[in-house]
Symmetry: none
Subunit: 418 residues, 2 copies
């Protein structure tokens, strides 16, 4: 068995400005590849403190993953600290320097001298390329056989560098480890406690590790086993939870990409109109490359005037039933479909709060409308929560309404059809 420690460098962690999300990400991936993490340590951008932390962390570990402190400013000291710890000099890597200069050229920005620092590495290290920023990482072996990997602290830079460079090295050095079997379920539409109850009732063998993770508004369920085959067990879980509530077995797949794949497969065009979600559904859909073949457009009809004048929801509907109503949601979806001339259309209207709620229409109430060429309907939902969670929930629920329609499965049973 091999061991690792994680060292996160930066005053922004110690003064509480940022959550060290890298550490959890690294622990998760290392664990998946049978590497145990001994310690996570955070320290300041300070030469002696970094070296002391390495001295503490290095005991009986094989890998040290360092994040942060690789920027171009005077408070970035990781390069220097590692060089000092390994008793080598820093030296300039011309190839990296050229790449950094190229980034500045492309961005039409002058290259400033201090950026040269980012092309300095402890002698004997291997440069780890950074495709998403100017700070490359590096990999060096100390005399005690400890391998040190230094990566930038920005998660969007660290993650691809870890996965493309560090992980393959670690995995290669650990190929003889027995592989653990895993099956994951990404679930939408059921509360965690209900899923837990259904899974517990199955009385699975105790050497199957079951773990839950609530990533609002999704629940992720994971089974792990080193000896029992998981296929039959996965099937019984699927039956217990309901296939339609499981949108993927791939933890990296999102609800929006599920919906997109179904749109692609059926060659269906989509449009929408959003009120309380303010464009979040359309932002999620357009995050996917290639969606322009299916997604036509969306009207953020934030005010009643726009719902009426631009989208054509009748004054009568708005006046009689209100902007947050089953009738308005349905009319919004029908009219969006015509306005954008798409095969199907969705709509959302609700009370996101914190103000604007009434006893009849409280904060957290929202309606999702849906329309295709044959029919139109709307569904009522209620989540008493804060503005951000209500908007997020309404957006993901709309994606799930689309997904269920495209799969031809029943809509959410806890919602009333109108």
């Amino acid at each position: 068995l091999k061991y690792a420690s994680i060292l996160s460098i930066g005053s922004e962690i110690l003064d509480g400005r940022v959550q060290d999300s890298n550490a959890q990400y690294l622990c998760e991936l290392l664990k998946e590849n049978s590497i145990s993490v001994k310690n996570i340590i955070s320290c300041d951008d300070n030469l002696e403190e970094i070296i002391e932390a390495i001295e503490f962390a290095k005991k009986s570990i094989d890998y040290l993953i360092v994040s942060g402190g690789l920027g171009p400013t005077t408070d970035d000291l990781t390069r220097e600290a590692i060089a000092k710890y390994c008793k080598v000099e820093l030296e300039l890597d011309n190839e990296s320097l050229e790449k950094i200069k190229e980034i500045f050229r492309k961005r039409n920005r002058p290259f400033i001298e201090c950026n040269q620092l980012q092309a300095m590495f402890p002698k004997g290290s291997q440069v780890i390329e950074n495709s998403n920023g100017t700070a490359p990482g590096f990999h060096i072996s100390s005399d005690t056989k400890l391998q040190i990997f230094c990566l930038p602290g920005v998660p969007s830079e660290l993650k691809p560098m870890f996965e493309s460079y560090v992980l393959p090295i670690i995995v290669k050095e650990n190929t003889n480890q027995s592989k653990i079997q895993k099956i994951a379920f990404k679930i939408f539409g059921l509360p965690e406690s209900l899923i837990n109850e259904k899974v517990t009732a199955l009385q699975l063998p105790s050497n199957i590790k079951i773990s839950y993770r609530a990533k609002f508004p999704e629940i992720h369920l994971k089974l792990e086993s080193s000896d029992i085959p998981l296929n039959d067990i996965a099937e019984s879980i699927q039956l217990a939870i309901g296939t339609q509530n499981i949108f993927s077995h791939d933890l990296k797949e999102t609800l929006e990409s599920c919906a997109f794949k179904l749109l692609q497969k059926n060659n269906i065009s989509i449009s929408g109109t959003e009120s309380c979600t303010g464009g979040m559904i359309s932002t999620l859909l357009t995050s996917l490359p290639g969606i322009s073949k299916n997604f036509i457009g969306c009207l953020i009809a934030y005010s009643n005037k726009i719902k009426n004048l631009n989208l054509g929801v009748t004054e009568e509907t708005l006046y009689t039933h209100g902007a947050v109503s089953a009738e308005t949601a349905k009319e919004m979806a029908i009219n969006a479909r015509h306005y954008f001339n798409s095969d199907i259309a969705y709509s959302v209207t609700g009370v996101a709060g914190p103000d604007g709620g009434t006893s009849e229409k409280p904060v957290g109430l929202f309606y999702i409308g849906f329309s295709d060429k044959d029919c139109a309907y709307s569904i009522k939902f209620f989540l008493p929560s804060d503005r951000e969670r209500i908007r997020r929930y309404a957006s993901y629920m709309t994606l799930d309404v689309i997904r269920r329609y495209l799969l031809g499965v029943v809509q959410h049973t806890d919602a009333k059809m109108n």
Copy 2:
């Protein structure tokens, strides 16, 4: 000045199952009360490893905050480790035992023997009451004057215990401390390296702590000093960086809320039309409660057909200059303003990639359009990056274009006006 370290105990942190959110919370509150955190350390529920971690952490600190490992099971070893470290025995606290038994009675659950463990404390410690769970915490001073506070790992139990017991003690012991002065700058529109160069050129006194944080696409700069007044220095920094590039001194304020405040103050209504950002700007704006008084709506004109038929960008403009062009961006903004009948309007059109780029219009090229009743213009930007960052950058840049317009300050100097 007093120092603290944080020790988070538990295998669920090291195997990536949970994010150690307690550490950030504790750091933030300690910092606010002028206590600097030296280290955050996570280790497993293992007697020797806990003691080794304390030995490492205790150097030159006054307070050690320990979280986790106070549960009733055999793998909860924090009590034992602290007793061993302080060279004292564990002893039963009858009052705590009665309280734990009372909780079980109230929950209608049988009291299981192992729960008695939770009423055992290192001799000489002060019990810290837990109103939200069964595990009390404790407070003990080691012979080296180090004060150790042990709290449960569950955030909803740790937080009230920290605030009602630990914090008052720390605050009381530090009332004579001179308060650390802080000034923060939230900067948008300049790269980190250029800011660093400008700040370095000011040759500030070395006892002012300068820290940078890149939170794409913003840069946060912080000055701290315990002796030198920061007002004059802040002014010179402002001059060096350019006041218009600093959108706030409050680290919690966002670019969208800055823009919103200016819209409110000037009683101006806004609308927009988005292509490559797909609704992200409108999602950011509508995240703010009360924005419905100023934000009218937005048309996500993702396809050329919608830009032409629904928004009224002429076929000639789209055909001659292309959908991603200064001319289209400008016409989009003008037409959005008319379509939504708002005081001002913004537009964005660009190539977010990863496909669809050409040598003339590469991935990362985007135009922001702007229009009020008197004039309209568009600005060209280029960020060769991935889809997510391009969309994010374009969205924040649009918010900044709005902010600068409302402030009446110059637009981005590195962008070409059309």
